[in-house]
Subunit: 235 residues, 2 copies
DNA sequence: CTGACACTTCGTCCCCGGGCGAAATGTCGG
DNA sequence: CCGACATTTCGCCCGGGGACGAAGTGTCAG
């Protein structure tokens, strides 16, 4: 009889994320790549049958997309809005204690450089935005004309990013660094080029990316003053 | 001392939001006010005993704060990061079908004007940002010098908002309008003044606020060109 | 055609967590 | 001190959902 608020009901979506197995799968998919059902089962540490059931529910809730390719089924996040939910949740979630040496190494890799769905994050992502700003290429959520020239020259599809329905160049709060990196359509376009040129390559850990030698040289040529990364290679 | 980062595990926080009863409570708290345990029980449609158990869990998970006042305990969201999680979730969540006339009226109230934790949202929030932009008071995530003068003159603590540890004047995507309203420290400071001056007052529905006659006049004086609201009063 | 592989469906087990009423704790007005 | 009210704690019931192995469907390689 009392007023039950008619609002967006967030519980069903939250429930899909709330299961540890599904959360592990979604977090792995934050890397931006589509992963096969079997890979996701391995990442989450469950049997294929269990993974399949979870993926069916995620699909039903429109948190993931699937693309069938031969006998594989590749799952990916259903869109950047989903990635934003996961990142926002990560920001308020505690970091679990380190259990093994291997986990701590993986953690350091992720802290150094990773993809946040489709754009560069971690220390590398934060540093990239700093360099763009310091060099006068980026100001107030937008490229300067210098920035426009620089990135277009590097092969970034700035035009296309401007036309996208997403926000163009928003700052995205990084959950490990607690400072901003570049997100949105432009962040994604830049990251495409970085991977395409081989300046970064995807690491063995799902979301991690690593700076290559070519990348180090290329970036040093563009931003002569400082190192783009923290300077302490992860071993 | 080496600070080691690990992948955040988002499942526990998501699980707290995943229960429909807790979700209803949290959504009610998005209004920004602290609500007593009994009020939250009524809003969620459960017994006091059940509500108490849920609130204990939310407290344990640091999603809410409590302030004891006499025989009441007032609960509120633990911070704007929590509000951001809830808003982001709302953006990807379906809106439930309208069941009753009363619910549809409430829905229209919320769509017209509500608080998004601590700043103005809904059509009114979106319109406010539009007016600020059109008048040359706001540009590129920051106040212009005109804007600084205008708001300071109205009694908004712009200085204090700049010093806050939050982002100053970010655009926040509105989940009903799908367009941006003003968030962050400045959005909160402006909303404080709007409520303090009685230009808006809190409605009977938890998150809703309504434009008063004084507010209509005051805003018309500042933004002469257009109505701040949609012009179709909610009845 | 056949066997290997990727994934889903089915059947089964089991446990966690939400719901309530009743009683305990705590706080206020007199 | 005493009832009235707000909130929490306790004891109990119940259902949903996640886990697995085995069997079923679909796809590729030779």
């Amino acid at each position: 009889m009392e007023h039950i608020a008619r609002d967006a009901d967030i519980a069903p979506v939250a429930a899909l994320i709330a299961d540890p197995t599904r959360a592990a799968m979604l977090t792995a998919l934050l890397g931006g790549r589509a992963l096969a059902a079997g890979e996701l089962a391995r990442v989450a540490g469950v049997s294929a049958a269990t993974a399949s059931a979870h993926l069916a529910r995620l699909l039903d809730g429109s948190l993931v997309d699937v693309v069938r390719q031969g006998r594989h089924r590749y799952y990916r996040l259903a869109g950047h809005e989903i990635a934003e939910v996961l990142e926002t949740l990560a920001r308020v979630s505690a970091r679990p204690p380190v259990r093994s040496l291997r986990q701590s190494r993986q953690a350091r890799l992720l802290e150094e450089a990773r993809t946040c769905y489709d754009h560069l994050a971690g220390r590398a992502g934060v540093a990239l935005l700093d360099r763009l700003r310091d060099g006068g290429f980026y100001d107030r959520q937008d490229l300067t004309s210098d920035g426009e020239r620089l990135l277009t020259g590097l092969g970034v599809d700035v035009e296309g990013a401007r036309r996208a329905r997403r926000r163009f160049a928003p700052e995205c709060l990084d959950w490990t660094e607690r400072r901003s990196h570049l997100g949105g359509a432009l962040g994604a376009a830049i990251t495409d080029v970085l991977l395409e040129r081989g300046w970064y390559r995807r690491g063995s850990v799902p979301r991690a990316v690593v700076l290559t030698d070519e990348g180090r040289e290329g970036l040093a040529a563009i931003f002569p003053s400082k190192e783009l990364t923290s300077g302490t290679p992860v071993t």
